[in-house]
Subunit: 70 residues, 2 copies
Amino acid sequence: MNNRIKVLRAERDWSQQSLADRIGVSRQAVNAVERGKHDPSLQLAFDIADQFNLRIEDVFLPVKKSSSEG
Amino acid sequence: MNNRIKVLRAERDWSQQSLADRIGVSRQAVNAVERGKHDPSLQLAFDIADQFNLRIEDVFLPVKKSSSEG
DNA sequence: ACATTATGTAATGCATACCTTACATAATGA
DNA sequence: TCATTATGTAAGGTATGCATTACATAATGT
């Protein structure tokens, strides 16, 4: 699961720590998700997207199984 | 985390089993998510939304922490 | 009556998301 | 030099997503 967190943070000049604080999770959780160490929970994905005022689909890029749009 | 899976299935006349088969998870996994027993992983949320040709936000309804839109 | 399908639920087990604590490097600035 | 901030990483623990197996009820059709 790829994501655009690093760029989105940079655009806002937010550190991993400040993003973590805004969401209410640990810095390591943000770091792990941002670096693709593991996927976030759906709730955390919503929270992250919400902080950026974006949709989940605009932050996270899954491997689609079906359909031809992409 | 509320969701509209039951209605979306009904609109398409899909059983929990057939949805599970399409996605490649167990029927119980679909049942548990649909009934709000627990949240799906982000990947499963993407897969479910994709089957309905909808965005995650149109299938799952989280409790927002911030922002005033909603 | 019997089989099939759809659904809800439970137990057990494994993988993993997230936490806390801790250590490391690099950049910045007093 | 010393302190602070940002980031990457690791170990150990808890919570939870999902699989598998299994049992139950209800609806449908033969």
